[in-house]
Symmetry: C2
Subunit: 216 residues, 2 copies
DNA sequence: GGTCGAATCAGGGGGTTCCCTCATGGTGGA
DNA sequence: TCCACCATGAGGGAACCCCCTGATTCGACC
């Protein structure tokens, strides 16, 4: 049985590499290099599997996550295999949360990639060995740090996130206040709430927290 | 005129992508996926150009730099075109310092990559537009931020470096003082000297400075 | 229509950070 | 020997950070 796929990656070189690496029983019926054309291409071609670059630029939610949001929540949705240079826990968990059925890094070999596509097409979940741990941690009983990453961020209101980002970049309260056209006291209030919600004790820990999650 | 190249990248997919993206007048005469086989392959095949992944794992100097060190300093050395997902200034400058004649990111198109290979083969230096600035900064008259990295660190005495590391990690003056068994005032003095010597204005910039140089 | 959360702002207090000057003792080179 | 540099430390001040209480406005929700 031939599996139909659409490849989404902004790098020409990598799209070519993936296309040429796939076995003959996998048919590439479309390609896209940005969020908009990916969504259009996937809807038009209705592939069984989408091979999706996690670090796709553009969109409002980080690229790949936008594509997943647009494409998955409708009947006949394809299975999505995420492809990434990164094996950072945050990326993996965020992508899987968004609905990806597999996550492999670009260090995968051609035959293994073809195998992963076939297995995702039949409904399996496919993860590189060292990534499986992250996923299990994130969805396991204990939850773990990684799983809490997105939920922690969700606890913050939009304004709090905005302030948090600036503080994490090292701006003083005064500078944040000037940037956002609010008073210093308001900035203090927001920062206080952020620190409390994230259970951090000062702005340095906040900067570290944000850096780990690639928020800054 | 046909240009001979060796492709060095630990990712199968990317090697395939590069190979398939290159024009017919560029002949891939060898490939390698780690430092040792890259050095051996380049010496054996003597290509005109080596396409080298900057983030090659293994070796003692960061992978790609080891390959450059081994290969360049002998007669008949090939021209090296660095290929990277990263456009971070540190990576670019370190690679160029080590002798690469070009640096392009993986977002390059197939035709542009072929063109870059041909130009490097003829002796040109090839840099993506936004990378050229880094290189010029680093080698220009003023020296530039990047080039000054190690020299800046050398300006600090051992004690100052010790204090600087702890401050960059977010310890308060009090905590640093307790850790080093000195008074807070001494810590203040050291920090003040560090900030002055590095021409930084506060501990946040110091943390950022240290993080960029992977000191912390 | 009352309640609740989000966003805004104020006052005040205690600790921290950064800068300035100044001082002492040790070490190592000219 | 003397000077330069380093490590140590003190005093004081201005600004900044963090926390506390308390307040108003506005929109959403039941």
């Amino acid at each position: 049985m031939t599996v139909s796929v659409v490849i989404v990656d902004d790098h020409d070189v990598i799209r070519v590499g993936v296309r040429e690496s796939l076995d003959d029983d996998i048919s590439v019926i479309g390609e896209a290099r940005d969020v908009e054309s990916a969504v259009a291409e996937i809807r038009a071609k209705a592939p069984q599997v989408v091979i999706l670059d996690v670090h796709l630029p553009g969109g409002t939610g980080g690229g790949a996550l936008d594509v997943l949001a647009e494409v998955l929540h409708r009947p006949g949705a394809p299975r999505v295999l995420a492809l990434s240079v990164s094996d950072a826990a945050e990326d993996v968990v965020a992508t899987v949360r968004a609905g990806a059925r597999g996550y492999v890094t670009k260090s995968i070999s051609g035959p293994d990639l073809s195998d992963a596509v076939r297995r995702v097409a039949t409904g399996d979940a496919v993860f590189s060995p060292r990534l499986a741990g992250f996923v299990l941690d994130a969805f396991g009983a204990a939850g773990g740090e990684v799983a809490a990453a997105d939920e922690d961020l969700d606890k913050l209101t939009e304004r709090e996130q905005e302030v948090m980002r600036l503080i994490a970049r090292g701006y003083t309260y005064r500078e944040v206040a000037e940037k956002l056209f609010i008073s210093i006291k308001t900035v203090e209030t927001h920062v206080g709430k952020v620190l409390h919600k994230l259970q951090l004790s000062n702005r340095h820990e906040l900067a570290h927290w944000a850096a780990q999650r690639r928020i800054v």
